[in-house]
């Protein structure tokens, strides 16, 4: 296929923030996850753990706890506010001051009619869940000391509250505390420190399970208020607990990064009486605090200070090795944080708080494969643009000529004009923006930079015309399907005629930009598109889905191309389907129309559509084999998927117009090294 010059970029200091809270909605199989910066992410567990939605954070917002009520998502945090999220517009719907000081936890009853929050001032406040709002109902008896954790008994009549040094059980109808369970302090020096009950779980047989800062997981009888069993699991804190749906298993996350499973089992087989909570398994997939946990049907989901989400399948629930039975670690967001101006070699990096614009370096030299070329010009950071306001940046775009830059938060959109002549760069903010343009889920420029597209609410797309002096609202493209879901992917054709937009309902709409109307809808596939691109010459739309399926759709003919049909008929190679990170970017080679460039976190792939497709027996990763073969033998071994794993932990791979590749790496080691030190663990005889 040939040689490529690769710009290997490692100066994007992307740093994910720690995971703080988690809530799993068993009904929709969506996991909501809150990070320290106040952002909320929604993962679809039925669709290969795809990160479906991201609600950007805000400086003043802190989330301590998340809670689903039906399909509605609530959060509460140390700023003392309860917020409900608008999952269609990816922003908080409203937030409500609870007047109880910082809020540590929020839960709902099983019926979904009430919310309870635990406040710093020692009150448990009940809120009624209304159609469009929530309303304060009453306080339970106020206690001395903060309420750290809450758990509602499945019947709805009692609430267990974890506090400092104790657990209280409240009778909900009367609001009185009916039980007081004293939690022991730690040993030795920590005797003087109060024990924080970080997490409680109230089971339907009135068993209360608690996890505390003295490293204990304790099982209590909620009727009598007596301690049944103590498991000392760590010298540090037990931070999170989660109960399986059938209440036969409880998992506990600790500061040591371990997740410990307890199961309600009889000591001998075939004996139904005398079951007790027994510590069974220990999983260690984290290096730091495990702050959030969820035990779902077949897996344990955990996250914490070390920022990645781990889905650890419980292997006894699987009969055979399959895609679902593998351990999943989700490190990077499933969307692009890097925009690339292909014509001029500029890179735009998106951080929550700022944007960075870099110019790639240059080299005149030529070398043989494997060589590193001497640098003639070093890469250069041209611009650091800090956002205004409290809201974090949710999307950004750089035009391919490098002349325009835009970003959006939930509250505003900003467009800048960039002018670079040799070494000077000037940036001017476009002052008057059309009123319709107040926020966007996705931004994208047309390839000739004459238009900008902004994804707005209800899957609509605003078309903005850009000229030197002003920017003007042109039209709103609306889908016919009436979907209310946000658009998460947008791409335009090079000839400026087509725009494709994909939303979370898995719909892809193709608009004709000349007629400014909907051209067609790509047949809806069951898995969410994770990346797409329109071919510069053929105007074929290449779509990759979260389940790794790959389609090529001819926009002009409104049907799948022959190549796509052939691929579907033959089936993708199992090795391709077994990859565990989604493809997040699709680009094309303008010089060779047969080549499609895609990448996920662990590899990038150049698909050569002129070559035969690999069948299941073919060696899929064949680059090493091909290298060892002679020129004559090689053609018989070639297949269409050319995969390169030299570069790891990829955030972006793109092909510049000068035929050189840009590879943006963010080594996980570099992320780990920026984390705070983990808790000290005593090794033997130290």
């Amino acid at each position: 296929m040939g040689e490529f010059k690769v710009h290997r970029v490692r100066f994007f200091d992307y740093m994910p923030t720690a995971i703080r809270a988690m809530a799993f909605n068993a009904h929709t199989e969506r996991l909501a996850l809150a990070r320290m910066d106040g952002s909320v992410e929604i993962f679809n567990f039925t669709d290969h753990y795809f990160q479906e939605k991201v609600i950007p954070g805000k400086d003043s917002r802190s989330i301590e706890s998340l809670c689903w009520v039906g399909g509605r998502l609530f959060s509460a945090g140390l700023n003392g506010e309860i917020a409900e999220y608008d999952l269609e517009n990816l922003r908080p719907k409203y937030s409500l001051e609870a007047y109880g000081g910082p809020i540590w936890t929020i839960i709902s009853n099983t019926q979904g009619t009430q919310l309870a929050i635990g406040c710093e001032d020692g009150t448990v406040k009940l809120f009624e869940v209304l159609e469009e709002h929530i309303q304060f109902e009453r306080n339970l008896d106020r206690q001395k000391g903060r309420i750290i954790s809450l758990s509602w008994h499945p019947s709805g009549t009692h609430i267990a509250a974890g506090m400092m040094d104790m657990i209280r059980v409240f009778d909900v109808p009367t609001g009185h505390a009916v039980q007081r369970l004293l939690v022991d302090r730690g040993f030795g020096g920590s005797k003087s420190r109060e024990t924080v009950v970080w997490s409680v779980a109230f089971l339907s047989d009135h068993t209360v399970v608690s996890g505390d800062s003295a490293g204990k997981v304790q099982v209590w009888d909620g009727h009598t208020g007596t301690l049944v069993k103590t498991h000392l699991v760590t010298k540090w804190d037990v931070l999170a607990l989660s109960v399986s749906k059938d209440e036969s298993s409880v998992v506990a996350g600790t500061s040591e990064g371990t997740v410990i499973q307890f199961q309600f089992i009889a000591p001998t087989l075939h004996q139904q009486q005398g079951k007790e909570w027994v510590r069974t398994r220990t999983f260690k997939n984290h290096t730091h605090d495990v702050r959030a946990l969820a035990e779902i049907e077949t897996a344990i989901v955990s996250g914490g200070m070390d920022t990645h989400l781990v889905v650890r399948p419980l292997l006894e629930k699987f009969d055979e090795k399959s895609h679902a039975s593998g351990l999943r670690k989700i490190h990077f967001p499933h969307r692009n944080l890097v925009s690339c101006a292909k014509k001029v070699g500029l890179l735009l990096f998106q951080f929550p708080g700022q944007l960075e614009l870099w110019r790639l370096g240059d080299s005149d030299g030529h070398g043989k494969p494997g060589d590193r070329l001497p640098l003639e010009r070093m890469p250069e950071k041209l611009l650091l643009l800090k956002r205004k306001g409290e809201d974090h940046i949710c999307c950004s775009a750089l035009s391919s000529c490098g002349g325009w830059l835009a970003y959006s938060t939930v509250s505003c959109v900003r467009i800048y004009r960039l002018q670079t002549d040799n070494n000077n760069i000037s940036i001017t903010k476009v002052s008057k923006l059309p009123k319709a343009l107040h926020s966007a889920h996705q931004l994208c420029f047309s390839s000739d930079s004459s238009k900008m597209f902004a994804a707005s609410s209800q899957s609509s797309v605003l078309v903005i015309a850009l000229t030197q002096s002003e920017c003007k609202y042109v039209h709103t493209l609306k889908p016919k399907s009436g979907s209310r879901q946000p658009i998460h992917l947008m791409t335009t054709s090079v000839d400026g005629k087509w725009l494709a937009a994909a939303n979370s309902d898995c719909e892809i709409h193709v608009y004709n930009l000349q007629k400014l109307k909907l051209h067609c809808i790509v047949p809806v596939y069951g898995s969410c598109p994770s990346a797409m691109g329109i071919h510069p010459t053929t105007n074929n739309l290449t779509v990759v889905h979260a389940d790794q399926q790959l389609f090529e759709y001819s926009i002009v003919e409104k049907q799948y191309t022959d190549w796509s049909r052939k691929l579907q008929k033959q089936g993708l190679h199992n090795v391709w389907l077994d990859r565990d990170t989604p493809v997040t970017h699709v680009t094309f080679n303008s010089k060779n129309p047969n080549q499609v460039v895609l990448h996920d976190m662990h590899m990038f792939c150049i698909i050569d559509q002129s070559l035969p497709l690999p069948d299941q027996k073919t060696q899929f990763y064949n680059q090493m084999t091909l290298r060892s073969l002679s020129e004559q033998e090689r053609p018989s071994h070639l297949h269409a998927f050319k995969i390169c794993k030299t570069f790891q932990d990829l955030l972006c791979v793109s092909l510049l117009d000068d035929q050189s590749l840009v590879v943006v790496e963010r080594p996980l080691l570099a992320i780990t090294s920026q984390l705070p030190a983990p808790v000290r663990q005593k090794k033997f005889a130290t």
């Binding site: 290997r8 490692r10 087989l269 494997g370 050189s660 005889a685």
Partner: protein, 724 residues
């Protein structure tokens, strides 16, 4: 665990004139799981509802006629089938009242049994070995029946059954011919017959009972001999078809039951599941009198799981259907529900799977802890040598060696010397599988007697038993402590070497005794020569001259110090503590014993609490010793004495750490430990220095790495790659 629940009487029994005949011919299942069809020994067939203990129907043949085969239920046609007077087959339905009016057919040869099982057609087995399907036989009753068994050789059927397995139908029967026993396996459709010869029991006795079951596509035949041995043989369902002639049927010993005095008479064993066997008519090991017990044994662990006394004479009959055992005894037929739970231990060890079948169908090895832990059979080669030796010995002695039970008897009251001799003879004679069973029993009996009679102690016999490597601590937990009590250090050493499972508390007890014992006492004891010579070598090494390979031990601690000022030698001799360390702080044999302790497996969490039992002088002495061997090891003696067993450097360091962990405050307070602690600190320092030196070397080694095209990755680079 298995449990026998409270039983109940299903029906009374007729009194038979002779003691050997049973009042019941057979009990068979009906279409209903709660029904049992009981055929008595004369004329009547009775159908019972088991849970209600009441008869639902009864059928009798006329006076003068005799039922010669238990009635069975034809699961396909829902009819009952019985044979009277050997030749008349009668078929009737439940609603028929009179047996005489039922369908009758007279066949041309004597019938042995009619067999029926759910999912298969009934089959008729003739006394001469021929087999017919009932249907085809009834369609032409007078068809000629061939002889399979030879008439003149007096081969007669002793037992038969049938098994239906995955569309295959088998009839199994055993025959006796001049004291030899054979197993016939008749497959139906296509018909093939395979004949196996059962291995002869030494005593020449005939098997008391057979029981066949189907597991994992193999037929397991379980049979009990009067001497209490329960053997199992395995026949593959898809057996070697077309092999002619008689094959030997390999067997494996599953269980050796205690038989008490004499041999078992009317006893019977039936397999309940892969691990449990129910036996009737055997004595209870703890009751000692009478043979009227029903017991459930676990064959994997050789343990008695449940026992129940049956009143009255047991006739060696037991049937097992759907969780219930049917036992005729005295004047009644009792039904005893049972339950066999898979033990947690068995499931933990993966023992639920049948051990032998997948590997070889011929022999089912009795699992031993030794093989479980080490995965090998250490007694393999030694056994061959031993047997050769024992042959010689047997020739020279020309006295018959005693059986295990006789030796056990001897242990109860025999003199030490005789016990030793017989144990040795037994151990060198026995084969590996028997050894596993008998060694533990022998050891336990020996230990038990020693504990009762203080005067009796048989070190030689015990040592011999330990040396078989079939023993482990959990099999005989008192052995090691007994040896300690009797100051039998040689035996202690053997146990420490060979037992893989000594608990930490016992290890500590050994350690405490070894440290506390006066040197003079131990030096007289003969210990294992290999370990002694290792220690001698270690002690002597220092005297051989210290300058080795440019390394000088007295300077060891300071040599790494860059600011080291050479001191005048005479001054150094006085002050340097390492010189004192050249003398071993404990006697030679004591050191050997301590080495054994160092090498026993332990888990540190469990060991530390017990280490606290040591008192301060003991700790200090032990630490001094550890320091001594550490210093010896630091010199390159370590590499010069290749021995099979010697403590490793890590073991020594670990023990030092453990001791310090357990006794740190005591050591800090004790004034005479000060020098020791500072020495220890200095050798930690020297270790740290060593590693820092190694770290420096690592730096230079890494430079070597960099000679290759450097792979360090900076923030940005432009590289060329090639894709094919």
């Amino acid at each position: 665990m298995a449990t026998l629940f409270e039983g109940f009487t299903l029906c009374g029994l007729l009194q038979t004139p002779s003691a050997s005949d049973s009042a019941i011919q057979g009990i068979e299942l009906d279409g209903d799981s709660d029904h049992a069809v009981v055929t008595d020994s004369t004329r009547a067939v009775t159908l019972y509802k088991v849970s209600d203990q009441k008869p639902l129907g009864s059928w009798t043949v006329k006076q003068g006629q005799l039922l010669t085969c238990p009635a069975v239920f034809n699961f396909q046609t829902k009819e009952y089938v019985v044979v009277s007077d050997n030749k008349v087959i009668r078929v009737w339905k439940e609603e028929d009242l009179n047996l005489d009016k039922a369908f009758k057919a007279t066949v041309s040869a004597d019938v042995w049994r009619v067999h029926s099982a759910p999912g298969g057609e009934p089959v008729v087995l003739f006394q001469r070995g021929a087999v017919r399907l009932l249907d085809s036989l009834l369609s032409a009753p007078q068809q000629p029946i061939e002889d399979i068994l030879s008439e003149e050789e007096k081969e007669v059927i002793r037992w038969s059954t049938n098994i239906v397995a995955e569309k295959q139908h088998f009839v199994l029967f055993t025959t006796e011919q001049r004291g030899e026993h054979f197993l016939y396996v008749q497959r139906l459709n296509p018909n093939t017959l395979q004949k196996y010869r059962l291995e002869r029991e030494d005593s020449g006795a005939s098997p008391l009972s057979f029981s066949a079951s189907l597991r994992d596509k193999h037929i397991n035949l379980l049979y009990l001999y009067p001497n209490g041995c329960v053997y199992q043989s395995v026949v593959a369902v898809r057996g070697p078809v077309g092999l002619e002639g008689v094959q030997a049927l390999p067997r494996s010993l599953r269980l050796r039951l205690p038989v008490g005095e004499g041999e078992l008479g009317g006893a019977s064993a039936v397999a309940l599941d892969e691990a449990h066997v129910a036996v009737v008519g055997m004595p209870h090991p703890s009751a000692r009198t009478g043979k009227d017990f029903l017991c459930i044994w676990n064959t994997n662990f050789q343990t008695l799981q449940a026992g129940k006394e049956m009143v009255g004479r047991i006739r060696g009959q037991v049937w097992c259907y759907l969780g219930k055992l049917f036992v005729p005894h005295g004047k009644a037929l009792s039904v005893i529900p049972y339950e066999c739970q898979k033990s947690s231990l068995a499931s933990a060890l993966g023992k639920l799977r049948h051990p032998g079948i997948a590997v070889s169908k011929s022999s089912v090895a009795i699992p031993s802890w030794n093989t479980l832990l080490h995965g090998d059979q250490p007694q393999g080669p030694t056994k061959i040598v031993d047997t050769r030796k024992s042959k010689l010995r047997r020739k020279s002695q020309s006295a018959p060696a005693l059986t295990v039970d006789q030796v056990l008897e001897l242990i109860k009251n025999g003199p030490v010397e005789e016990v030793r001799r017989e144990v040795e003879a037994l151990v060198s004679r026995g084969d590996a599988q028997d050894l596993q069973l008998s060694v533990g029993r022998l050891a336990c009996h020996l230990v038990a007697r020693s504990q009762v009679e203080t005067a009796f102690y048989a070190p030689g016999a015990l040592a011999r038993l330990v040396q078989t490597q079939c023993l482990c601590h959990s099999m005989c937990p008192d052995l090691l402590l007994l040896a300690l009590e009797h100051k039998d250090y040689f035996l202690c050493q053997l146990c420490l070497q060979l037992f893989p499972d000594i608990p930490e508390v016992v290890t500590c007890a050994c350690l405490k005794t070894f440290i506390g014992v006066p040197d003079g006492d131990v030096e007289m004891v003969s210990l294992e020569p290999d370990s002694v010579s290792f220690m001698e070598g270690l002690v002597a090494a220092g005297a051989r001259g210290r300058q080795q390979n440019g390394f000088s031990p007295p300077l060891f601690e300071d040599s790494c110090d860059p600011h080291h000022q050479p001191k005048p030698p005479q001054h150094q001799d006085k002050k340097n503590p390492t010189l004192q360390l050249e003398v071993c702080p404990v006697g030679l044999h004591k050191a050997v014993l301590l080495n054994e302790v160092l090498q026993t497996p332990y888990s540190d969490n469990l060991l530390v609490p017990h280490l606290k039992d040591l008192n301060a002088p003991q700790v200090i002495l032990f630490l001094q010793y550890l320091q001594f061997i550490y210093m010896k090891y630091s010199q390159d003696v370590y590499t010069q004495t290749p021995v099979l067993r010697s403590p490793t450097m890590t073991q020594i360091i670990d023990w030092v750490c453990l001791l310090l962990d357990a006794h740190f405050t005591v050591l800090v307070m004790a004034p005479n430990a000060k020098g020791l602690l500072s020495n220890l600190q200095s050798f930690v320092k020297s270790q740290v220095k060593l590693f820092s030196e190694l770290g420096k070397i690592e730096g230079s080694l890494q430079e070597l790495h960099k000679m290759k095209p450097s792979k360090d990755i900076s923030q940005y680079s432009i590289e060329v790659i090639e894709l094919f």
